[in-house]
Subunit: 144 residues, 4 copies
């Protein structure tokens, strides 16, 4: 099995430096686990993400999916110039519980120019997904 | 020409009541114009939406598109139970300027069960779009 | 484990009756396996699906994904009025081999109104996917 | 106004050479009009595209959208190596009439690596769209 290009701790450090507005104390975002081409991340439950009727907002889930994909991309491309999201498609499947969200990202393709992956989001402890995402990232020409 | 089911002011009131976490003082979101089936909304520039290199974050644009679509949906369905986003597909096209974003939503279909629309996002004063979105909303059975 | 609502043979019969233009002798389409909420189908290799450079055409893969999803939907909803595709999103990942294609469909949600699923397409005998699809179907009110 | 890189006749010739399996006598496909970055194409009505209930099949519309986008891409990039479809997202909006389909493609972005556009499909003579598509093409490094 291929080792991830960066550990979870190294990716957290990189994200804190590169995305200080997203990955910052109080965001509730954390990395649970990283393998080569996959990542599990978590969004801690925050009442201000709640919509009437108790639903966690769509943009919260889109941001979480984007975050999960960034971690998975870093696990493969390593400390390279930042990839740019070019397409994101999300299907909202079920009303999430008032609980933390877990997002599992998995790369489907890691090419020289484009990286494509999918993300499944669940409420912690639940089996059925609340949202499913596919996303594409454009990778800048490598530094090396 | 059909009149919108609700005016911009009525929709703002509705959103402040129904989405207090999204449409609140300090969000920078405002409604510029509403017709039957179309809406123009604005996201005021906020430095905390900026990514390294000066790009406005993807989730900010996804949230703006979702907001624009909600306004367009209300312009047609009126004061009805809330629609639910079921699918959102976004293509990121260009790096936005460090400026307000303008989003133009237009419904492509307004059915009894599903409403589909597209949103074009531009930096204020620019012609070329920075992002393009299509989104689908499931409309609950009407109250009447 | 829940039994599928219809067997592969019953679904083939239904499709031959309902989609004679798609599922017909000579189409090269066949059902390999059906479980409750999943389906594996096959597109036999046909030289007229080939594009220059030896790539199987995109529309061939889109049609195969749509077919796979129909089978998976039937495995859950049974002999009901036809579902209608409302959204299909496909990412083309790799150049397929000049070989049969295998498509694995899996439902992510089977609601009263909408069914959502994903399909992974591979060249027979290969591990890496050539395309990934998510699709949504609107289910008409049940007959019963 | 920028002139298209190739005329409709030149693009038809190119497609007949490069996509003989798609753009061939009997396909019912034709180019109606080309400008720089836009194209209008037509799919002649063919009874074998019909699904039960009189609906033109989804794959027919996906193939038509892909064709329209190829024409629009050629209108900008000219006689270059072939672009490859990387993503296609289609929303089916209404049941088409038993009539020819007209597809209008418009590029949203034409970058050095990715070209993104949208396509609106209508039944000839009708105003309301039957389907809306966004698609992305990866452009190979230019020959020059």
């Amino acid at each position: 099995m291929t080792k991830p290009a960066l550990t979870a701790a190294e990716i957290e450090e990189l994200l804190a430096a590169e995305f200080p507005q997203v990955f910052k104390p109080g965001s509730g975002l954390s990395i649970e686990h990283v393998e080569f081409g996959t990542a599990r991340v978590r969004q801690a439950f925050r009442p201000d993400h709640i919509r009437p009727g108790g639903t966690i907002s769509g943009p919260t889930m889109m941001a979480l999916a984007d975050f999960a994909m960034y971690v998975a991309v870093f696990s493969v491309v390593g400390r390279q110039p930042l990839a740019v999201t070019t397409n994101l498609n999300i299907n909202f499947l079920r009303k999430p519980a008032q609980a933390d969200l877990i997002a599992d990202a998995r790369l489907l393709k890691s090419g020289a120019r484009l990286v494509v992956g999918e993300v499944t989001i669940r409420s912690v402890g639940a089996d059925d997904p609340v949202a499913h995402v596919t996303a594409t990232y454009s990778v800048p020409p490598r530094r090396d």
